[in-house]
Point group: C2
């Protein structure tokens, strides 16, 4: 067994965390030989519920769970953390406009960003899951001084997985046969799931599906999948979001397979003519805990337009909370 690492999860009593924490504690994210200390953050009204989650974590007798800190104090929660999963966010309440939602979250992530900059491990890797994830990550990254903005990422892995799964179902393939899909932009309905570079069992995806399916079914299905799940379950995607969060960190650390890549929301360096500094989802390869944007992909007019639509939304989100950056 390795030495334990500290993993922070915010919004720890919520539904996504309830699915995520048990898999994380069982060693599914970092490996069966990597013990973890879970540092669970909640707001005071949710602390009692969090106590119940802690009891259940204890009751699993996981050999990879070295300790649990359950707290409403963000300094304790982020202290020495190697991984931070920012799952907690303010959901849209009755009468809240989009701008109100952005601002309410901006305040949370301003505070949390400052604290984690001060107390987390120098090598911390941060994943923002709570929506609006890209802009919440932007705010978090903007508060970093000791740490680097590249250490903060936003989750589009759920969208990436959904895109793979749709292509696999359409072509009758295993999901493991589908490679090189891309989610560009925002984790929202403007995201652009791009299959121009994707392969299915080694063949170009464009050769096995038609343009009409891409435009009228594939793209809208991936964009609106979250709403579809809510319509069926009566509750938002929790288990699949938790699963994608673990995939995101695991791939970041263990690397992308040769010949494949993944999608991550990261600080734009201007690649593909996207506004510098936005948190934008790009195709990236990962190796030993580092990621790199896949460069020089050919972008046609169809893709360019869609990449700009989602970029535009991210610019508007940024401008709505510009006073807090």
């Amino acid at each position: 067994m390795k030495n334990p690492v500290r993993v922070t999860v915010t919004g720890a009593a919520g539904q996504i965390s309830y699915n995520l924490l048990f898999r994380l504690a069982a060693g599914e994210m970092l490996g069966k030989d990597q013990p973890v200390i879970l540092q669970l953050l909640e707001i005071p009204p949710a602390m009692k519920m969090l106590d119940g989650v802690v009891m259940e974590l204890e009751d699993c007798a996981f050999s990879t769970l070295s300790g649990i800190i359950a707290t409403d104090n963000s300094e304790l929660a982020f202290g020495d953390a190697e991984y931070v999963l920012m799952v907690g966010a303010r959901p849209r309440g009755p009468g809240m406009e989009r701008k109100d939602l952005l601002e309410a979250n901006a305040k949370i992530f301003t505070e949390q960003g400052s604290v984690l900059d001060r107390v987390a491990s120098q090598n911390v890797r941060v994943l923002v899951v709570g929506n609006p994830a890209n802009t919440n990550a932007l705010i978090t990254a903007s508060k970093l001084q000791r740490l680097d903005a590249s250490q903060v990422t936003a989750m589009t892995r759920l969208d990436h997985n959904r895109a793979i799964s749709q292509i696999a179902a359409k072509t009758g393939s295993f999901s493991s046969s589908v490679k090189r899909v891309i989610i560009w932009g925002n984790h929202s309905a403007t995201q652009y799931p791009d299959i121009h570079h994707a392969t299915v069992d080694g063949a170009s995806a464009l050769d096995v599906v038609d343009q009409n399916w891409i435009e009228s079914e594939f793209i809208p299905t991936v964009q609106k999948r979250g709403a579809q799940v809510i319509a069926a379950r009566g509750l938002s995607s929790a288990a699949s979001a938790g699963s994608a969060a673990m995939d995101h960190i695991r791939t970041w650390m263990q690397g992308t397979p040769t010949g494949d890549w993944t999608s991550m929301g990261i600080v734009s360096d201007g690649s593909y003519e996207i506004t510098d500094g936005l948190i934008y989802s790009y195709p990236v390869t990962c190796k030993s805990g580092h990621y790199e944007i896949v460069q020089d992909l050919e972008i046609n007019k169809f893709s360019r337009d869609k990449m700009q639509i989602t970029e535009q939304e991210l610019i508007e989100e940024r401008d709505a909370i510009a006073n807090l950056l």
Copy 2:
């Protein structure tokens, strides 16, 4: 990759299943090289919610998930199943007496037992999780003709894990250092968590904790842990129950470690003077998919009394639904 195996989960849209299914699909129960076909059973009113769960399972793009059948038809759900997790059960409704609850469940498990006897794999292994688990397992086993009653088990692994976790916390040890605890009897508040044979880091547990703690804290805590979790979370144990269900099947198939055992509710063969034919939780060792009761443990008067109290409850449960056996 091996050939896929069919795993049935009943009550598939419920909370325990929502935590269990994603780990099962990710290969956590049967191994990362063992693809599964999930056969999910629900009652008609829950089929829409189950559709949402299926979407989320697809959205995870698990490489170990070969297929999903979601149905309200038990023949389809149990067909050729190698593993059956009977999670679904009728919860106690307003005004229901204990006898009403036993009878309502007896009807469900009578039907499901008959169907699985007819259509499941000859080697199927069945775990009953839905409460009252022991008596639901008794009814299921009583309907078998082609299959053997020994193929049906009831879950006391959650209690077993809880006992380990309490001892580990009390002695400041890792849960992996605690061995040979026993849950005797019913998965209910009469169960007897026995540490007379347990060891902590190789030393007798009785030498490191005192009798007063055992009687006034340990036993009641394990017995009533479910109620404590409900009081804190506002919801019953779901993630820890799902985790224990996977532990149960994994241990059954992969075996108990040398020098240790686990607890399983199984058909009594009269061992330890327990009434023949009851589904009673015993200490068992497992090897290659077979289990055996640990024999010849010394039982003192304290333990004997508690083993009989929980046996008596199981006799009463059996008698309450005797007309359906």
